[in-house]
Amino acid sequence: MIALLARRVGHGILVLFVVSLLAFLLSTVVGDPVASILGLSATPEDRIELASRLGLDRPWFVRYVDYIWNAVHFRFGMSYSAQRPVADLLVERIPATIELASVALVISLGVGIPLGLAAAVNRGKWWATVLMSSSVIGLSLPTFVVGILLIFVFSVQLGWLPSFGRGETVAIGWWTTGLLTKSGLLALIMPATALAISQIALIARLVRAEMLDVLRADYIRFARARGISQRSIQFSHALRNTLIPVITVSGIQLGFLVAFAIVAEAVFQWPGLGLLFITALGSTDIPVISAFLLLAAAFFVAINFIVDVLYVVVDPRLRAGTAGAGASL
């Protein structure tokens, strides 16, 4: 197990190194701070003077170490378009994205798991077949299309839900939450649903396939032979083993939810990190883009690592097997 985790840590460090190098290159090669500060009328002497004042005449690896040092201390420079420290922008936007993605995750697990279980247990019934066929529709719905359709029905036609923004928020320390006000909750419904739809379909399909696999296993047949009731078999024997891969997948889902949150935030003008990133991409606001890259890399590395640890904790077979072949993953 330790060998496996050590490999994952090594992989995480490698990812962070490569992404930080890219982010660094982006901020030095593309975003030329000298030009953006001095403008077009500067003389070459001015440029050299400013470059040495900013430390840009030092070798690249010294500047890279410097860049990392600053990033670790949350100094990402100034946003070109907002003219404010990037770190402040990020801190301001983080709560909105985390609330959106976690509510979407709760919805997709809360709806997806029961649907998948129902489809597995009732295999062969017509409605289970219909359920699974319609999951293909769920997978075929791009997030932004779901968002538009929801806005069309619930904002334009019915006028029930707000089509953009986060509603009223309450500040708890530096964290702002929309979960405590009525308008905040109303504003959350559509973006979270738009994000959750395709994940619901994915999770339902996965849970169904896993459950069917488990129900075919020998220990289930023996439990049945021992006269244990069908319901007890399904819920205490089968369900627990079905949920192991679901834990892994929900970690990965959270990653996807955060990635697609960019799209949902753009559709609903949800003031989170994704909208910040899209706006920064549109205006080539390099400090924001490179900070977002670093943050995203750290986030995805952390998610992958937590999933790996959880996997080992939940599945005793992995703990026992790592001495030999287990590390081959």
């Binding site: 075929s140 299309v145 991409l281 549109g282």
Partner: protein, 313 residues
């Protein structure tokens, strides 16, 4: 003896195709038949757009400003031949969709060609030669797998579009988006192909081919690749769904194809602005077409996966 019945006594080609295992499984899969029908109609419409579209939306002379902002024909105020209504310039929405699908489909297919070609090549190299190059290739794939593909596509597409000088943005839009989607998905193919190469490489017939003096690339092409063509085909089919969705998402966000070369995503983006002023047909019809297209590709891809390679499930 007539030419129609060859001497070998084998049944004619149509009969052989009809009885082939793949065709049989297709005939027994209603979902696949539905998907294939939708695909034939949509692809047919896209390919034949210049001939069957009621109007040419890019021929500015044919646009009729008096026929602008018409609703679909079944809504009061709708007019023949504008079945799905018209936009603010008087362009027919149905024609816009047919032409948009052309762009969406060709970008999607091109992107999958890039990702499958690159992934197959790198996977073969990594699997057959191993060593430092193989290690670097698979490390790169691992690093990319840490991130959701859509994020990478957005980053490549977004930076590629905004860093270019303005006059080049429109001309290079298609190559950039094809590269963005292709580069974000090659690791899937590389992993698949590398795994298969590692299995086949140790087999006797590969050793025999090597002893017969065949070079590594010939062995890869003639001995190893045929073992993975089915799996690659399945992945590529399902990948078209990803590519079409990815392209439309990027275009919708403004980092894809420009309004001069509209795809379904671009149409949805421009139409979205009119959703609140009541001209819903400008966004809803392209959106539904997109969903139908992706849905049909997924249906066919799912069937193909089950029929060709049950292990992939």
């Amino acid at each position: 003896m007539s030419l129609a019945t060859p001497r070998t006594g084998r049944p004619a080609l149509p009969a052989r195709v009809w009885r082939a295992p793949l065709t049989k499984s297709f005939r027994r899969a209603p979902a696949a038949i539905v998907g294939a029908l939708i695909l034939v109609i949509l692809i047919g419409g896209a390919v034949l757009a210049p001939w069957i579209a009621p109007t040419d939306p890019y021929d500015l002379a044919s646009l009729d400003l008096f026929a602008s902002r018409l609703p679909p024909i079944w809504v009061e105020g709708g007019e023949w031949p504008y079945i799905l209504g018209t936009d603010g310039q008087g362009a027919d929405v149905l024609s816009l969709i047919l032409y948009g699908m052309r762009t969406s489909l060709s970008v999607g297919v091109l992107a999958v060609l890039v990702s499958s070609g690159l992934g197959t090549f790198l996977g073969l190299t990594a699997g057959y030669f191993g060593g430092l190059a193989g290690g670097i290739i698979m490390r790169a794939a691992d690093i990319q797998f840490t991130f959701p593909a859509i994020l990478l596509a957005l980053l490549i597409g977004g930076l590629g579009t905004t860093l270019l000088p303005t006059h080049l943005q429109a001309t290079l839009a298609v190559p950039i988006i094809v590269a963005a989607l292709g580069l974000s998905h090659w690791p899937h193919f590389a992993r698949l192909v590398r795994g298969a190469v590692l299995v086949e490489k140790t087999k006797d017939y590969v050793a025999a081919a090597r002893l017969a003096g065949r070079g590594p690339w010939t062995i890869m092409r003639r001995q190893i690749l045929p073992n993975v063509t089915n799996a690659i085909l399945v992945l590529a089919t399902l990948d078209i769904a990803f590519a079409v969705m990815g392209e439309s998402t990027l275009s919708f966000l403004g980092f894809g194809l420009p309004p001069t070369e509209p795809s379904l995503g671009t149409l949805i983006r421009t139409g979205y602005a009119y959703l609140f002023s009541g001209e819903w047909w400008l966004v809803i019809f392209p959106a539904l077409t997109l969903v139908l297209l992706v849905f049909a590709v997924n249906l066919v891809g799912d069937w193909l996966r089950d029929a060709l390679n049950p292990r992939l499930r």
